[in-house]
């Protein structure tokens, strides 16, 4: 049947036999919108760096010249790479060890890893970073103060260093490495290791010669993903790197847009350079993944790994797991909460307990920009989630179901922004809406566009995966019953996609509330969002109010994440 219908390019109208024009307007418009959102920031970024910058009459490459001859440019490149690679190594090291313990051993507290272990992925980077400043700052850091009471003369830790930056970001994304490596362990046939054991190799030899070799492509791939992500991260470079005088790309881009007059040309060049670096990483990664397919083992299913009995070491590794969970989840949350109840910074003591107050919460929520940020963040999160899922469902339908030619291209273009760091999208959108005669710069609209651009690829992937699970015949049956495209989409496709739409929408709610690295470039007066307000209050030295507001935000996000988990689980329990 499908061969009988001639394929046609998606921009061409074509009559369906006997029924006049049945051109699905909605998915075509949605696809156009997705393509526009994906392409415009990059196109205008390139255009802007070449033509804009110093105003009319400048030479074509003036911004580039200025960017690369600026003092400290080489050092910044070095810092960026060291920081991104260092944090990636730390995340990968922690994540791999934990994944191995979780998938292949009977370590104590195995079950808690998957629940508590992913808390940092829920917390906004601004808050995680601030929490660690409260813990490791040389002056007020609780860990340093504790060391002093134990008799250490000078503060042993200084977070304001490259090491400190690597520590915070490495910890923050270690759960990502844990999830990825867990999946890698699960897809590796444990018989490959068992056959080494029975061949006479001990645990050490087996890990060295079999496990690590087989995991090498996965390890390298996860490292690259982390490296790319770290290059584009902004929270740690802004909150720790700048005070410490350690510049990286993202912080430099932000600084260029915030100085007066703003130098968008410089920001654009640095953003493009960043994009180039991440693209190279992604290219290497895709080559790698192609190579891993050579390693595909006989059966492709997931494996119930043999559980290695650790014996007495079970308690030791269990203590390690607990220590890890304390460091990544408990300590940051506890220090925020502790601070939020105090009139000024104090280490825990009886006096401090006596001073506990809710004053900070009252003050924080009385600030007009906090109220506005809360309202704006909510509007943006709900709007982004709803629009993203609606557009995603239509675009995914176009890619998976329609018979138009060029739908692979649509898939590539629409999911391409997944590779763009948030700050690059931010600079790209500045250039887009300073060039186009659409006056939305500094309003909520540009933020909405930024969020849609960032999160549409995730929605499209989720809906595409769900659509391929739904048999085409269900829809064909609707068509044969005489339903138009709109009726079929509303009555058949959307209800069947509902689980994916709800899960995807909840996820996008969470990431929209957390979003920072695009927002920090695009917000304007009266168009603040929560993450930016937090950052602003921190810059103004209102540490206690930041803690109060942060604690409240964390509580809200954790509730949202729990709802996400619950929705997902319910769907797994009763599919369809």
């Amino acid at each position: 049947m499908s061969q009988a219908v001639p394929s046609r390019p998606f921009w061409r109208l074509s009559p369906a036999p006997g029924r006049g024009y049945s051109w699905p307007l909605v998915p075509s418009l949605a696809s156009l919108a997705a393509a526009y959102l994906a392409l415009s920031p990059v196109i205008f970024l390139i255009y802007g760096t070449l033509v804009g910058g110093d105003g009319p009459g400048q030479s074509l490459f003036a911004s580039y010249l200025r960017a690369y001859t600026a003092p400290g440019a080489v050092r910044m490149l070095g810092n960026s790479v060291t920081y991104a690679a260092g944090a990636a190594v730390l995340s990968l090291l922690l994540g791999t060890i934990l994944a191995w313990l979780h998938e292949r051993t009977n370590t104590a507290f195995r079950g808690t890893l998957f629940i508590l272990g992913i808390v940092p992925l829920i917390l906004p980077g601004v808050l995680f970073t601030i929490a660690w400043i409260f813990l490791l700052s040389p002056n007020i850091g609780l860990v340093n103060l504790a060391a002093r009471t134990l008799g250490v003369p000078t503060a042993p830790f200084n977070i304001y260093s490259l090491g400190g930056m690597i520590w915070v970001d490495g910890l923050h994304y270690s759960p990502f490495a844990f999830l990825m490596m867990s999946a890698a362990f699960r897809s590796m046939n444990p018989a490959l290791e068992e056959s080494a054991f029975v061949s006479g190799a001990g645990l050490g030899t087996t890990v060295r010669r079999i496990t690590l070799r087989l995991m090498a492509p996965s390890l390298l791939s996860v490292f690259l993903l982390l490296f790319i992500r770290n290059l584009g991260t902004f929270e740690v470079p802004a909150l720790i790197g700048r005070p410490a005088g350690i510049e990286v790309f993202t912080a430099k881009i932000w600084a260029a847009t915030r100085r007066y007059p703003p130098d968008f040309g410089l920001a654009g060049v640095y953003a493009l350079t960043l994009l180039l670096l991440t693209s190279v990483g992604l290219f290497v990664n895709s080559r790698l993944l192609r190579d891993t397919r050579r390693y595909a083992t006989v059966t492709g299913e997931g494996f119930r790994g043999r559980v290695l009995d650790l014996g007495p070491w079970r308690a030791v590794t269990g203590a390690g797991v607990l220590a890890y969970l304390t460091i990544i989840a408990l300590m940051p949350l506890a220090v925020l909460l502790w601070n939020s109840f105090l009139p000024f910074f104090m280490p825990p003591s009886r006096q401090a307990l006596a001073a506990v107050t809710l004053h900070n919460y009252a003050v924080a929520f009385s600030y007009p920009q906090v109220a506005r940020g809360l309202r704006n963040s909510l509007i943006l999160a709900v709007g982004t989630a709803a629009l993203t899922m609606l557009i995603s469902a239509s675009v995914a339908w176009m890619v998976v179901r329609s018979r138009t030619r060029g739908r692979w291209l649509l898939d590539v273009v629409a999911t391409f922004p997944i590779t763009l760091p948030g700050i690059v999208i931010g600079v790209g959108l500045i250039w887009t809406y300073l060039t186009l005669p659409v006056p939305i710069y500094g309003t909520l609209w540009i933020l909405l566009i930024a969020y849609l651009t960032r999160f549409l690829p995730y929605g499209i992937r989720a809906c595409g995966a769900a659509l391929t699970q739904i048999h085409r015949e269900l829809e064909d049956a609707g068509e044969l019953s005489g339903g138009t495209w709109g009726v079929r989409f509303r009555r058949i496709v959307l209800p069947l996609l509902r689980p994916a739409l709800i899960a995807g929408g909840t996820y996008i709610l969470i990431v929209s509330v957390r979003e920072f690295s695009s927002s920090v470039l695009l917000w304007g007066p009266r168009a603040e969002v929560l993450s930016v307000v937090l950052f602003d209050l921190w810059q103004s030295g209102l540490f206690q109010q930041v803690s109060a507001m942060g604690s409240a935000l964390c509580a809200g996000l954790i509730v949202l994440a729990a709802a996400f988990w619950w929705v997902n689980r319910r769907q797994e329990l009763n599919p369809g």
Binding site: L192, E194, S195, A196, S199, G200, T297, V298, R306
Partner: protein
């Protein structure tokens, strides 16, 4: 040799505990080919993994070559890499990042054998399994049958005392399975390694083994040479699982040294009452032992029933006939197109020496 005594193993599934193996005891003589045969989930693979040391039993002992490698009561648990075994896994578990040679040489290398010996042994063993000439091939480029041969080579290269095979032929197509099965048997005989083989395929078990142990629900219910297990099942499950069988419930009585079983279809004289003299039993009649004729045979009338041929199914080398005898359908097998057309009234003849009595057992 291999000795397994009182082996018991439980698994926790969620918050329930399931017994996978319940007190299994057997021993495999030096150089014998022993097969654990049973349906999936009967615990046979668990036993194999306990022998290999990949699982720890909850009770019992495992001896390999007169050496105690596991004892729950004595607290002995030799790890798998010190048990001197060769194992072939169901998925072959060929290491994809190594060549054919590197895969086969691994057991010798981790034992730190000198280079000359490694090269000589690997060449020998690859020749033995018919993979000579493919040494430099990357392992993932091998076909399924070749991977299976390589897995066998890797399991034998260090001349282990015991070879364990976990359904090694189940991932191959029917023709290749037959060929590799025969090769496996001949290699095992030449090398003389004590072998424990696990399968759910009764034909495979019967053709390959010296001794078969039939398992169900974590218990070993009958052990013996293939012919004996096939001809004289001690248990209804064995009769049903090993080969095809017509199982008729009946009552055994012995009068003047002649054993007779009375079933709903009539009485049959049995030459092999399995050591029983009376009681409720099952009569096991193999389809190929049932003779079907159109004329009433000239006998004393014993062991002949009459019935109607309900259906004849032709399947190439043989045909199956379904005969209805007073309410019960019996299945008979004959060569080629040996049967009269369906609907014919026929006589069914049962040779007394092929009428096997199986104790009904507790399960009935």
């Amino acid at each position: 040799m291999v000795r397994v005594e009182g082996l018991t193993k439980h698994f926790r599934v969620g918050n329930r505990t399931i017994q996978a193996v319940g007190g299994v005891t057997f021993s495999i003589p030096q150089g014998a080919f022993f097969t654990l045969l049973g349906p999936s989930g009967c615990g046979k693979t668990t036993i194999l993994r306990c022998i290999a040391g990949l699982e720890q039993p909850d009770a019992g002992e495992v001896w390999l070559d007169e050496r105690l490698v596991y004892s729950h009561s004595r607290g002995t648990a030799i790890p798998p890499h010190r048990r001197d075994l060769g194992v072939v896994f169901q998925s072959y578990a060929i290491w994809p990042h190594m060549t054919v040679y590197e895969n086969a040489a691994f057991p010798l290398e981790v034992r730190r054998r000198p280079g000359g010996e490694v090269r000589r042994r690997v060449r020998e063993v690859l020749e033995l399994v018919g993979l000579d000439g493919l040494e430099a091939r990357p392992a993932p480029s091998l076909s399924g049958g070749q991977q299976q041969r390589l897995a066998l080579a890797r399991a034998l290269v260090h001349a282990p005392k015991v070879l364990l095979l976990d359904e090694p032929l189940s991932n191959l197509d029917a023709k290749l399975r037959e060929q590799l099965g025969r090769e496996l048997k001949s290699i095992q005989r030449r090398v003389g390694v004590t072998t424990c083989y696990v399968t759910h395929d009764q034909a495979e078990a019967l053709t390959l083994s010296d001794v078969v142990g039939v398992m169900t629900e974590g218990r070993l219910i009958q052990t013996g040479p293939p012919r004996e297990v096939y001809a004289h099942p001690h248990d209804p499950f064995v009769a049903w699982f090993v080969g095809a069988a017509n199982l008729l419930p009946g009552r055994l009585e012995t009068v003047n040294g002649i054993a007779m079983v009375t079933t709903a279809c009539g009485s049959l004289r049995c030459a092999s009452p399995n050591g029983l003299s009376s009681g409720e039993v099952l009569l096991c009649l193999r389809p190929e032992d049932i003779k079907i004729v159109t004329d009433r045979p000239v006998t004393d009338g014993l062991n002949v029933w009459s019935g109607i041929l309900e259906d004849v199914v032709f399947s190439g080398e043989s045909s199956e006939a379904y005969v209805r005898v007073t309410g019960t359908t019996l299945r008979a097998r004959g060569a080629g197109a040996a049967f009269p057309p369906a609907g014919t009234t026929v006589y069914v003849v049962f040779p007394p020496e092929r009428c096997v009595v199986v104790p009904r057992g507790a399960a009935g």
